[in-house]
Symmetry: none
Subunit: 248 residues, 2 copies
Amino acid sequence: MIPESHPRYKSLVLRDKVKNAFLDGMLSDSGMIAHGRGEAFDYLIGEETSEAGFRAIDAAAVCLLLANYPVISVNGNTAALVSEYIVELSSLLDCKIEINLFYRTSDRVDLVEAKLKDAGALDVLGTNSDDLEYLGGLDSPRATASSEGIYKADVVLVPLEDGDRGEVLVENGKKVICIDLNPLSRTSLMCDVSIVDNIVRALPLLIERIKYYKGKNVEDLEEIYSDFDNKENLELALDVIKSYSFKK
Amino acid sequence: MIPESHPRYKSLVLRDKVKNAFLDGMLSDSGMIAHGRGEAFDYLIGEETSEAGFRAIDAAAVCLLLANYPVISVNGNTAALVSEYIVELSSLLDCKIEINLFYRTSDRVDLVEAKLKDAGALDVLGTNSDDLEYLGGLDSPRATASSEGIYKADVVLVPLEDGDRGEVLVENGKKVICIDLNPLSRTSLMCDVSIVDNIVRALPLLIERIKYYKGKNVEDLEEIYSDFDNKENLELALDVIKSYSFKK
């Protein structure tokens, strides 16, 4: 048990969730190392949602509401940290959840599926390897997509996605929204909307903004979305790191 | 096998060492996460030793030479990455090596000891749990120290140390030198000399500087040490991160 008085309590609770998911077999060793990288970047933005984060979350909310067929892609780290929010988001958007694992094994897929169902998910795609299509006819494990999920999606929300995988989605004409604490990652640089924030803070805010915009005039939403410039916003996110000071 | 042509070859080789140490049981899961944090910070300083790094290494070399009874503290990540340098350093300073594991198990202690002995260490302290003293009479696993090692040391070199443990050392009057890629970590902020650099680059440089200063006049060394300001140097280290830009 981590004492609530510990100066790094919140961060240690998340680390514990990731460690337990790893010990349960849900996460690969690379998933643990990836979490460590995330911790470092979160440290550098002061472990709070920045102005750049809020702006990207707003754009993402609008983008998801304007989508014809949005899908949420889930990996081990996402399931370990925010399964409940993922389920709430999918029910709010009435959209599919699809499991995509960079290091895919059937055991790991089963564990992620169980975690999502525990959190209330009724239907989870990407669980049966035989039913997967290949995006762009690319014969690579990076290109798999469920026919009723990402394969036919126009907008994909990929929290914590790998660069190679992100590339395949973008190249196959998907509009991609990522949540990635590294503003310099290949994923952040190539996505349409890059939310540079911790997934545990970003998702509840995203849910809140979707509730706020839901039912609003489509032309207004389109205008809000077209006002968003991802490159410019990433520069703003990097400025947050640069402005970090010891006086804080 | 990682191809030498891979753009992130060096980093992937280190990651592989850490993964293998973990699979062998030498490292805790937290050790893997810690390595991920290190990767992120190293990325942000361009994966090379900065001016701030060189300055701290110089101060550390002098501080170790001025010490009456310096000791090198070794954990799993350090043993996995730089056992050979640790052994060379201890022979150069004629000082003890002591194993200190944040998540201590006797299996893990044995594996770290074997790794150090493989690298040529003759004598390794901190291996027998029954022989450990408690710093400041603090009944906590964070406060353990070998009576012939850290317990009586005036200067402790702690590569990759945890914040809680660092605090205990400082509070018990030890002069502490750390090697930590995060200039904002609790450890970095509380140490006397904080080397913000990758341990695989910092240790060979430290060895080189100790060879250079060894045998020099004590007053000169004292002057060099008193000219070093750790807080100021950490600001310089943070400036390296801040100057990172998309144009790079």
